[in-house]
Each structure stands twice: as C-alpha cells, then as structure tokens.
Symmetry: C2
Subunit: 231 residues, 2 copies
DNA sequence: GTATTCTGTCAACGGTGTTGACGGTAAATT
DNA sequence: AATTTACCGTCAACACCGTTGACAGAATAC
C-alpha cells in the first residue's frame, strides 16, 4: 500500500465516532462502494458517505486527501474484484478477452471511479497484478520488450476508455438516456440521400444499432490484430 | 438544426442585454468555446459564461434547456471545426486516420464537451456529415450493410472514448498530472520479480512510457485490422 | 393603441468539495 | 501513574455549482 499516494496512512487509534463506528481507510472504501452499489453513482458524495458510515462527512479527509484519492483507492479494490476467481486457461487470446470483459464489468458499475481512473494509475497492488497478468499473456503470445509494453498499454487504455465512456452513458438518468436514443432515431431515420448518400444507404441499420455498445466488437478487432501480429 | 433536441429555438427578438449584447444560441456557443480556449475547461460555468458574454448567467437557459444541451451544441460545432479544410485523398485508410486525428484534436482541447458527448449523439448536421464521410470510406474499402455500420460505430466510439479520456487527463491541474507520473514511476521502477515476473522484466520500458498517450498506436492497430478485413 | 408573448434580470434553493479551528481521547513519554 | 503530545472526529463556514420561479420591461402581433 506504500505506493497508494495521497492516502494518509499512519498508525490509527481506536477513537470511536459519535454513533460508535471505528473508522479506517478500508471501511470508508467499503462504504463508498456499497453506497454506489445500492443507490447509484450519483449517491456518492462526501456528505452522504458520512451519513452512511455514521460519522461527520469531513472525517473522510483524515483518511483521504481528496475524493480523487478515494476514487483511486476504490479503483484498486475494483481491480481485485474483477480478477476474483479468474483462472487463466490455455489460450492467451481468450485470457485477454476475459480480463478485458471482467474489468469492463466492474468499472461500468462504478462510473465515477472509472472516469477518475481511466487515464491514470492507482499505484495499488492489484493494479500491478493485472498488468503482470496482461504482460504475461502477451509474452506467451510472443511479444517482448518495447512492443509488448506498447501493446499492454494500448490494451489497458482501450479497456479503460470504453469502460469509462459506457459507464458514463449507463449512469445517466433513464429519461436522458431515452432522449438520446430518440434523438439518434430522429436524426438518422430520415436522411437526405442527396446530401449524405452513404449514411442514407445504411440508415435503417444505423437506427437499429442505436442502443448497443460496441465494446465487445471493437475488443475483438483489437485482439484479432494482436493475433495477426503474433503470427 | 431541427434535430438538435433540447435547444430552445424560435424566432428571436432584438432585446438587448444590460451591457448591450444581443444574445443568440450561436453567440453563446462561441463564447463558451472561447472561454474554454482562453482559460481552460474548468473556467466554463454558467456564471462565468454570463460574465464573459455580458448578461445575467440565467439568460443562457432561455437558449439551452441545460448545460448538457449546451455541450451538445458545442460538440456539433467542434465537429465542424475538426473537418474544416479536410480533403479526402485517394487512400481510405489515410482518410480514416486523418478524420480520427482531427476529431481527437478538437475534443482533447475541450474535455468537458468530450466527456458529455463521447457516448452520445448531438443530432446536429455536422455529425451527420462526419458519419457519412466515415461510412463513405468504409464503403470504398469494400464494407457494406451490417458490417459497415458495426465498423463505423466501433471506429467512432473508439475515437470518442480515447478523446474523452485523454482530454480528461490533460485537463487536470499540472500538479495532479505530475503526481500521477510520479506515482507511475514509484510503482513500477522497483517491482518484485518473484511476485510480478513479467512486469519486472519490462519495468524499465514501462516506466519510460509513463507520459505518452497510446491513441495513435492503438488507432493504427484498429486500422490495420480493418485493412486485413477488407482484403 | 392595446394585448401578448418573449426574454433578460434578480433572488434563492439545494447541492457540491474543501478548509480551519476546537476539544476530547488515546497513545507516548517521563 | 501522571503528564505531555499527537491524533482525529466534530462543527461552522467558504466558495463554488446547476437550476427554478417570480418579475418587469421591451418587442412583436392584433
């Protein structure tokens, strides 16, 4: 945990809160994750977090220098959660796919954490583990050195970027999401073939694809390219 | 403009603001874009926007139902800006690459807009144009129907997701960004080879790649895969 | 010339992250 | 065991944020 910067860490005392709770960084991360799990990403604020734990909201700042630091700690916990029970099989491509889908899954469930960490480093232990895992599969595929690092970075950034964006979309209120789909259909159900010939030609298919995410398909494109490179 | 939902549009009157300005949706979008250009993404708020224009902040709500709607309008303007002066050459792969890089460029300069629109539809005219452009290149490459649509969606989501994430990172205060790079180096400059053998093996290269974005490299992987599929 | 609708202004609400002072309490020191 | 020290939970407050509803003047319509 030494590398988890900006987390205030030192010996803790057994001081109790007004309602009797004994605080710790782990407990706060737990509470934050379950708060999001139960009431959605929008429910996560320092005040609500304090209410859920049973302490003054500002007590959180005794353990994390900012909510950003809290998000990083949550992210590392999420990585652990994503890898829980994962057993690499024989196929490196299938393993990478599984890692991507598991990571995508947990981040999509925690949009604000995903956004906060998408382009960054938690510095936590579980992050090191997943990087080692990915690099291991790439090594087995035959990549090494500079190329392996570039590919692992691309793979990681790809997964995180899609996770963050999709999470952001899914976390929107239902009405906003519905309005988006509606706008999509309005815009492309009646395209002028003179102005936009190619779009008009595919319009029905475009409209039909309004709601689905392209993550899985795009991931497959990436993995297929890796396979071609490995050969 | 009819499809640009949530923009309040009707005949406008010539009423002047206290400082003499005559408001319009276009003027507000202009002001918002230049506000971000001059003072950074964090400078964009309804209050500061009003101050920059020379009107009461809440006057913005006479033209846009919410800041989200304003962001969508800004996004469509940015698409136009990205495509300005673009002339497709003979190579569809090069054209797609150019479109991707131009789009990436404008969105990276406007992080909040990028985040707001990454997984969504502006419904604006310029958006239709860029989709038609991309679909046109894919048609020329030999793709059609379901596959062409899937590929265009993947391409678009890919570019937007990377743009949003990279924009978010670059928009962070310098100190936060520096702390991130530092944390990266701390975490991976001294890895235990027993625990994380693959990571330890590549550690020096990983550390060296701390700051660079993988967008261009990852885009090339995607385009290469498209090329293979087209053949 | 009157009526109506538009639209800029104002005050206010409820929310956010964060800071600094205060004081009791647990641990460290003597 | 007594005293000092450092911690850390609490409280009040600051400076923001997006958004709403009432109000009134001004431009258009009749």
């Amino acid at each position: 945990m030494a590398a988890m910067a900006r987390v205030i860490e030192s010996r803790r005392r057994n001081t109790r809160t007004k309602t009797g709770a004994v605080l710790s960084a782990e407990l706060i991360v737990d509470a934050a994750l379950s708060l999001v799990g139960e009431h959605g990403a929008a429910a996560l604020s320092v005040r609500r977090l304090g209410a859920a734990i049973g302490c003054d909201p500002t007590a959180v700042y005794r353990y994390f220098a900012s909510v950003d630091a809290l998000f990083l700690a949550m992210a590392d916990r999420l990585i652990a959660q994503a890898l829980e029970g994962f057993e690499p099989g024989g196929d490196w491509k299938a393993n990478l796919r599984a890692i991507a889908e598991r990571t995508y899954g947990v981040y999509v469930a925690h949009p604000r954490v995903a956004t906060a960490v998408a382009s960054r480093v938690t510095g936590g232990a579980h992050e090191s583990r997943v990087i080692d895992l990915v690099l291991g599969e790439l090594h087995r595929a035959g990549f090494a050195g500079e190329q392996a690092v570039r590919l692992y970075r691309s793979f990681g950034d790809f997964v995180l970027a899609f996770s963050a964006v999709d999470a952001d979309f899914l976390a929107r209120p239902d009405e906003v999401r519905a309005a988006d789909v509606q706008r999509w259909q309005d815009a492309y159900s009646d395209v002028d073939p003179g102005q936009f010939p190619h779009l008009a030609a595919e319009a029905p298919i475009v409209v039909a694809h309004a709601e689905s995410s392209t993550f899985a398909f795009c991931l497959e494109l990436l993995l297929d390219r890796l396979e071609a490179l490995a050969a």
